[in-house]
């Protein structure tokens, strides 16, 4: 497969089709796009994720990220360091950043049904906005903490495998 042309500037890249190859972590994503990523350090994490995230912006795709609120500013700084115009992307609707409390931990606890609905809503909304694809990246460190509902996470993740094959959007 032809690699994606990544020479375009991050802003103003040509819109892509959703079936364009997605390069990620030294490979190309196939039909299975539900990815569990383990990193030893933030530096390793962003070394792997930033080219993937940046390529999505350059291709005119949507980025939906869920982060630890304590690391929100750091996340934005890392995106900006890759040349992503975060403010413009947020304003245009291309980029949406949520804290855990506005996704996995609404009302202070994890509800798998509510979260499954949110993921579908996010992926559908990206399409409705006219984006060919949504690249969803979620930090999951909250699952290592003693949070209410966390015991349902494994069931949620496996049920996600009924939903995600209906979409082409990568979920990391």
């Amino acid at each position: 497969m032809e690699p994606t042309n990544n020479s375009a500037t991050v802003r103003g890249g040509a819109p892509s089709k959703s079936d364009q190859p997605i390069r990620f972590a030294g490979s190309v994503l196939g039909a299975q796009r539900h990815v569990c990523a383990f990193f030893n350090s933030p530096d390793e994490e962003y070394r792997v994720l930033l080219p993937f995230i940046k390529e999505g912006f350059a291709c005119g795709q949507k980025a939906f990220h869920i982060v630890d609120p304590k690391l929100r500013e750091e996340h934005l700084r890392r995106l900006a360091s890759a040349g992503i115009d975060v403010a413009a992307a947020e304003k245009s609707g291309q980029f949406e950043l949520r804290n855990w409390a506005d996704a996995y931990l609404r009302d202070g606890h994890f509800d798998q049904n509510r979260m499954l609905a949110l993921i579908q809503e996010v992926l559908e909304h990206g399409k409705q906005q006219g984006f060919p694809l949504t690249r969803l990246v979620a930090h999951m460190e909250w699952a290592l903490e003693d949070r209410p509902g966390v015991d349902d996470l494994v069931e949620y993740e496996t049920r996600l495998n009924y939903i995600l094959p209906r979409y082409r959007d990568p979920v990391i």
């Binding site: 299975q32 383990f38 496996t158």
Partner: protein, 41 residues
């Protein structure tokens, strides 16, 4: 490490690969139900 079994793809050591431990959802949900039905000994 149940969570590893719920993702068809993994990134470990910075490399994307198919996850050999992945279990399809029908099978995994059945296993979860069986675990709940079996009292701990």
């Amino acid at each position: 490490m149940d969570i590893m079994r719920t993702h068809p793809m993994t990134i470990i050591g910075g490399v994307l690969q198919e996850n050999p431990f992945f279990v399809p959802p029908d099978e995994f949900l059945r296993e979860l139900r069986e675990r709940r039905a079996t009292p701990n000994v």
